[in-house]
């Protein structure tokens, strides 16, 4: 190591080395320049002060004390390092000057400038102590500032052996103000003040007369006046201008790099190494022992060797062993990001661009509702395509999806919708069934609630809200008779016995038995006989809730033969297949008097139920066996009339049963309900519906079976009649086949009511329907 030494170019330094040997000291450009400027400032101050001081001296002697004092203090403050040099006497010692000389020489670094030096030498003795002072001060600064110096300099160091003529030391000279001397010389003799008898006037005269007055300076140390030489004045001027004292000094000499990256042969100093550099450091020892302890204890780990394999790639799948288990079965790989469509193109076809409305809609929509997460845009060339502003977002969202989104395996249904449609026999193969509307029976002014076809199939009876019962000839659609009954007809039923021609009509709380006499004589006779048989039994009749009465007068001529007075409004009437028994329904929540079974031949009525089991909607007789079907609101009960007990209860799975029909075989029942359903019960199978058909859009009002053909139909408020094929097999193992074959439309919906009743022709595959529009239609 070379000691790093900075040298001040302002003063000279003697180096023991010859100039041709590469020097090893460095002048740091920056530090030297700053120092140089500092010293210049100091020098300036000095000179200023002296000049000021002189002028002050001229003014007042009394003040001088003060100024001296002040100056000294100032000096103490400013130039604390050059204290002793201040008191170095008037003349410089030879050695000092030599020293300077040498310094100069070293600085110039060239021998051929000796001439100049000689001049300088000549000038030297004339130099005033002021200048010496400056020089010395500089040197002092250097000596103080530098720790290490060349040997030479120690030898010639003159700071403490200066040639001082006045030995008073560094004291304010005002202390000697009152004395005749100003100090003592080396021999201890007093140095007397020069005789100063100059007063103001002398001073003034001097000023006026003496041409050298301006260059005369008062030395307060010796008390004498000194006239500055030309060189000295020049020097002062140069210093005032902030230039170097030495004229020949080149302030911009080329810099010599003392310390370079090259290792040098010789050290910069030959100062012997310190002792401490040979003795092991205790502090270090302590530190090392601490570290050793920490390493032993494992607190400090040795420096990790740089892992060479890190960041290196190798054949990871070289041996595809199955030792590493594949992830368990529940692993769901993340779905791949969807591939872009035409919309995402930078130059999409024009149809994919948004119109204004679409764009507005897109803006309005919530980000999650949008079909596209971006607005398609079109650029005419590739260079115009900007960066996608949401690119980072989309990447980030993908990341979030990958690690945050719960995954679930969802089976995608990949079925051909055609396969879902059940394979049914073609309707064409299931003919005959009604297909077209062939006749319309017009005449009623109110909605036609109920229709019934005579067992012969020749006549059709209809009861309407306009208070009339009409009889129509089926083939001609002619209205044969109109019987006013004086109130809305709720239900109408033709006696199924072909030997009798009777009609039951429910109107208000009365059930009328009508004999329309629309048959051949034989039939009319047998009807008369049946009715007359009633008369015989009349006397037997007991007084009950139901009153039978004969009709007389005009009504008789209309064909009304009997009136059965009920306690409440009758909603439905239905005949037993034999034609002797007649059931009537009076729906009522509270009483058990809801159903009556009348025997026409004996004019007898009875209430089969002792208990109220819910609101009765409709009743029906079993076509062959002594069973009685009662449709309540949610279920159908089947009673055995002989044993007088309930045999079955069918759950309809619907809210409100509206109508019911029994298959002519007697083993199947269909129920229509107000909640648009039609349920088919197979009595042998279960009490639950075998099939629920939701074909209708609105409430089902009426259902009917065909007596001969495997057909059934349902009428609904949506104005349609749906005819279904329903084959019942005698084989118990085979379930009935139900196929809808035709949707018949024709009725106009009035007051939200469409088709109210439907019934089949007894022998032909024809169907009659009555609607709220006051018409009856025949579909064949």
């Amino acid at each position: 190591m070379f000691p790093r030494v900075t040298f001040d170019p302002g003063c000279s330094h003697a180096l023991p080395l010859t100039p041709d040997v590469p020097t090893c000291s460095v002048m740091e450009e920056s530090s030297s320049s700053t120092r140089r400027s500092e010293q210049e400032e100091e020098m300036e101050k000095q000179t200023e002060k002296t000049v000021k001081k002189r002028s002050k001296e001229e003014e007042e002697e009394e003040e001088e004390v003060f100024t001296f004092n002040k100056k000294c203090t100032e000096e103490e403050e400013d130039l604390s390092d050059s204290e002793d040099s201040v008191f170095s006497g008037l003349e410089d010692s030879g050695s000092d000057s030599e020293d300077d000389e040498e310094d100069e020489e070293e600085e110039e670094g060239s021998a051929d400038e000796k001439a100049q030096n000689a001049e300088y030498l000549k000038v030297e003795p004339e130099q005033t102590p002021q200048i010496k002072e400056e020089e010395e001060k500089k040197k002092g600064a250097v000596t103080e500032g530098e720790e290490e110096k060349q040997e030479d300099e120690y030898q010639h160091d003159s700071s403490d052996e200066e040639d001082i003529r006045n030995t008073v030391g560094n004291i304010p000279m005002e202390w000697y103000k009152d004395f005749p001397h100003i100090g003592y010389n080396l021999d201890g003799k007093k140095i007397y003040k020069p005789i100063r008898n100059k007063d103001e006037l002398d001073d003034f005269l001097d000023k006026m007369e003496d041409p050298d007055y301006w260059r005369t300076v008062h030395d307060k140390q010796t008390g004498s006046d000194i006239v500055l030489s030309d060189e000295q004045v020049e020097l002062v001027n140069r210093l005032q201008r902030g230039q170097f004292g030495d004229v020949n000094f080149n302030e911009y000499q080329p810099q010599v790099e003392f310390f370079s990256q090259d290792v040098m042969l010789h050290p910069v100093t030959n100062r012997p190494a310190d002792k401490r550099s040979f003795i092991p450091s205790l502090i270090e020892k302590e530190k090392v022992s601490k570290l050793v302890h920490a390493i032993k204890m494992g607190w400090i780990k040795p420096r990790r060797t740089e892992d060479a394999s890190r960041g290196r790639y190798y054949d990871l799948w070289a041996n595809e062993d199955s030792s590493i288990l594949a992830r368990h079965k529940m692993h769901l790989p993340a779905p791949k990001a969807p591939l872009p469509g035409h919309q995402e193109s930078y130059n999409p076809p024009p149809e994919y661009l948004f119109t204004d409305e679409e764009h507005a809609l897109w803006e309005q929509q919530d980000a999650s509702d949008r079909k596209l997460p971006f607005v398609p845009r079109k650029f005419s060339s590739l260079r115009q395509v900007p960066a996608f502003p949401r690119f980072l977002h989309e990447r980030f969202e993908r990341c979030l999806d990958l690690y945050l989104c719960p995954r679930q395996r969802k089976m995608r249904v990949n079925v051909n919708p055609e396969d879902l449609i059940p394979k049914l026999p073609k309707p064409k193969d299931l003919q005959p069934f009604p297909t077209t509307q062939s006749l319309v029976y017009r005449g009623h002014s109110g909605l036609v609630r109920s229709i019934s076809v005579s067992p012969s199939g020749q006549w059709l009876a209809s009861g309407s809200d306009d208070g009339s019962v009409r009889f129509w000839e089926v083939r001609s659609s002619r209205c044969m008779r109109t019987v006013p009954v004086g109130g809305a007809v709720k239900s109408i039923a033709w006696n199924p016995n072909p030997l009798v021609c009777l009609l039951a009509v429910a109107q208000g709380s009365v059930v009328l038995i009508l004999s329309p006499s629309l048959a051949d004589r034989q039939v009319i006779l047998s009807t008369e006989r049946l009715l007359s048989g009633q008369r015989e039994a009349e006397s037997v009749e007991e007084a009950g809730p139901v009153k039978w009465s004969d009709v007389e007068g005009e009504e008789l001529s209309q064909g009304i033969r009997l009136k059965i007075q009920h306690p409440k409004a009758v909603h439905q009437v239905t005949w037993h297949a034999k034609g002797d028994y007649l059931a009537s329904v009076m729906p009522d929540h509270s009483s058990h008097l809801q159903v009556f079974i009348h025997q026409v031949s004996r004019r007898r009525s009875q209430n089969p139920f002792r208990k109220n089991k819910g609101l009765v909607q409709c009743v029906s007789f079993h076509p062959v066996r002594p069973y009685f079907f009662v449709g309540t609101q949610r279920s159908v009960r089947i009673y055995n009339l002989v044993k007088q007990e309930m045999t079955k209860k069918l759950q309809a799975n619907s809210k409100w049963i509206s109508s019911m029909a029994v298959h002519p075989g007697g083993d199947h029942v269909i129920c229509g309900s107000y909640d648009c359903r039609l349920s088919w019960f197979d009595l042998d199978l279960s009490t639950k519906p075998y099939k629920m058909l939701r074909h209708h859009k609105k409430a089902v009002r009426g259902v009917a079976y065909h007596r001969l053909y495997p057909l059934f139909a349902s009428a609904s408020d949506d104005g349609s009649v749906i005819v279904c094929h329903g084959t019942v097999y005698s084989d118990l193992l085979q379930n009935p086949l139900i196929v809808p074959v035709k949707v018949l439309r024709g009725h106009v919906i009035t007051h939200d009511l469409g088709v109210l009743d439907v019934t089949f022709h007894p022998t032909q595959p024809w169907i009659f329907s009555s609607g709220a529009d006051g018409t009856i239609r025949l579909f064949t």
Partner: protein, 581 residues
């Protein structure tokens, strides 16, 4: 009443799931560490089938992990590393607080680090598994390689991503695996077929990103950590499979050529090597210097007749692919400085073309603009000052469209200043009933080898005719409908009159002979049959059927909408043209 009462939620599906917080507690990890672990190990939440049961009767939204997954995480060595890191951070903080700089230095040297090799191997037990899942890693690496070298993530990561992506691209070039490419508004999509797997990745445009504040870069950085490891191993394996030297090296010949030219311009050799690689203009060095890859022909096995067709189809496909691979062979392309160099160079080299660019654009240019043998110059500016006669000046879209069409498209549509035809996505595969843009039809016709000339007007005319026919049909239908309506009205009127009891003016008019179209009748019959059959469907099936039909109808509606839009647009264009004339 014997036996212990069974407690609820102690058996069944509850035992298979664990909530996130519980999992975190079980693993004794902080949320960020847990997140990092989940990302690295590929653990994700599962949606239980019966959420309420698993959630112990509550319906609060919670994420559930499989208990098995969490147990599996318990034994992960990386968890220990996470804890070490936590300790490391604590120590470092302490050292900073005490201003013990030597300790800081020492700690930093011993920063705990972990490797993800075993995780990659565990997540992807076989190479094909890894290849299948490479899409996201490619996208992420390409994104990270475009990041600025400051700020958002470590410079090393960015450099590594860049290196890996360059390696990947070089592999794709060497294996000629690229299949499809698509310029979207987001960036450029590429699809390559690597070892039978379709790999799709998206490269953003080369612009600086304005980093949004609502993006968590730590998450992305964790993913990138895993992805770079995965991609590195995949690259290694792929290079090996092609007999290429793995950290990729340029071909010796090419290298020497490049060296001569550019050594002065690029200071650091190590840096410029990656640059040279990323220039994509030279082929890579091979381990065994085989002269040419020998095409192994498949041996023909005697096959059954069923498979014969399949085989033929496969062979045909293969042939097509072979021709596609040599699409640009023999072309000498020069890229102007305004076109995206990397993308185009990649494409052209993938299909066997030669490519070069201005020397000042990038290192690795192989010939100058002045080269007389250049066949195509790709330009993306309105005009060029000095044009050479013997080459085409075309816009960049031509290259992309050619790749997708698998044939060299006619260059006329892509000349300078010409309005470009729309750029279509190659990823859309139209099924029956979907809307197909007319441009696609045109390209398909070209692919079939039909004559491209004077097609436009003819097509238009045809279209018009078709339209007219359709319209006529429509009109016919409408007329018929109208007839029916009129009849109905008449009938109704009559009915009304009748019901009102008015006597009709009895009049016999000559009836029209109603011609029944037998075909139509049949159709109607069938439709009715179907309707009736649908009525008989079960509830569940009906629901499904309705849903499917709804989807189908919506699709048709959308296709119709697009067609209508296109038609309106074309009409507008036509009228504009006419107005100009």
């Amino acid at each position: 009443m014997g036996g212990l009462q069974k407690k609820k939620y102690e058996r069944g599906s509850v035992t298979n799931y664990i909530t996130r917080n519980k999992a975190r507690k079980k693993l004794q990890l902080s949320l960020p560490d847990f997140r990092r672990l989940c990302i690295l190990k590929g653990i994700y939440p599962h949606e239980p089938k019966h959420k309420k049961k698993v959630n112990k009767g509550s319906t609060a939204p919670r994420t559930f992990y499989l208990l098995k997954d969490i147990r599996f995480l318990l034994h992960e060595p990386i968890v220990g590393k996470f804890r070490d890191y936590k300790v490391f951070v604590r120590k470092l903080k302490k050292a900073y607080g005490k201003t013990e700089w030597t300790a800081v230095e020492r700690l930093k040297e011993n920063k705990p680090a972990y490797k993800l090799d075993h995780i990659v191997k565990e997540r992807y037990p076989s190479f094909i598994d890894a290849l299948r899942d490479i899409d996201d890693s490619l996208c992420m690496c390409f994104l990270f390689s475009t990041f600025a070298r400051t700020g958002k993530c470590h410079v090393q990561t960015i450099q590594l991503c860049r290196r890996l992506t360059v390696e990947w691209m070089n592999y794709v070039i060497a294996s000629r695996a690229l299949r499809k490419v698509f310029i979207s508004i987001k960036g450029i999509y590429y699809q390559a077929e690597v070892m039978g797997q379709l790999v799709t990745w998206l490269v953003p445009y080369q612009f600086s990103h304005d980093h949004p504040t609502d993006v968590d870069y730590r998450v992305m950085a964790t993913f990138t950590e895993l992805y770079t490891t995965l991609l590195g191993f995949i690259n290694f394996r792929l290079y090996q499979s092609l007999n290429l030297v793995y950290p990729p090296k340029l071909d010796i010949k090419a290298e020497s050529e490049l060296k001569e030219e550019d050594d002065e311009d690029y200071a650091m050799n190590s840096e410029s090597y990656l640059e040279k690689l990323s220039a994509l203009s030279t082929s890579l060095a091979r381990m065994v210097s085989t002269a040419e890859e020998e095409e192994t022909e498949l041996d023909k096995f005697p096959v059954e007749e069923e498979d014969l067709e399949k085989m033929e189809a496969r062979e045909k496909e293969q042939k097509e692919q072979e021709t596609q691979k040599k699409l640009f062979e023999g072309l000498k392309v020069f890229l102007n400085r305004e076109v995206p160099r990397e993308s185009l160079a990649f494409l052209i080299r993938c299909f066997g073309g030669e490519v070069s660019w201005d020397k000042s654009v990038c290192i690795g240019s192989t010939y100058e603009v002045t080269d007389e043998t250049i066949t195509h110059q790709i330009v993306d500016r309105p005009n060029v000052d000095k044009q050479y006669i013997n080459r085409y000046y075309i816009q960049p879209q031509w290259v992309y469209d050619c790749v997708n069409a698998k044939i060299l498209l006619p260059v006329e549509d892509y000349f300078l200043g010409v309005t470009l035809p729309p750029h279509l996505s190659p990823f859309v595969e139209e099924k029956e009933g979907d809307y197909v843009p007319p441009e696609k039809l045109k390209i398909m016709a070209l692919q079939r080898g039909e004559k491209p000339a004077n097609e436009q007007e003819e097509e238009e005319e045809e279209e018009e005719e078709e339209d007219d026919e359709e319209e006529e049909e429509d009109e016919n239908e409408e007329e018929e409908d109208a007839d029916e309506e009129v009849e109905e009205k008449n009938l109704k009127k009559m009915e009304e009159q009748r019901s009102q009891g008015k006597s009709l003016p009895v009049k016999v008019t000559a009836g029209k002979v109603k011609v029944d179209n037998p075909a139509r009748l049949e159709q109607e019959e069938k439709a009715e049959e179907k309707r009736l059959a649908i009525m008989m469907m079960k509830k569940k099936e009906k629901y499904l059927y309705d849903k499917i039909m709804f989807g189908k109808k919506r699709k048709i509606r959308e296709a119709n909408k697009l067609t209508a839009k296109r038609k309106a647009h074309d009409d507008a264009e036509k009228s504009k043209k006419k107005a100009k004339k």
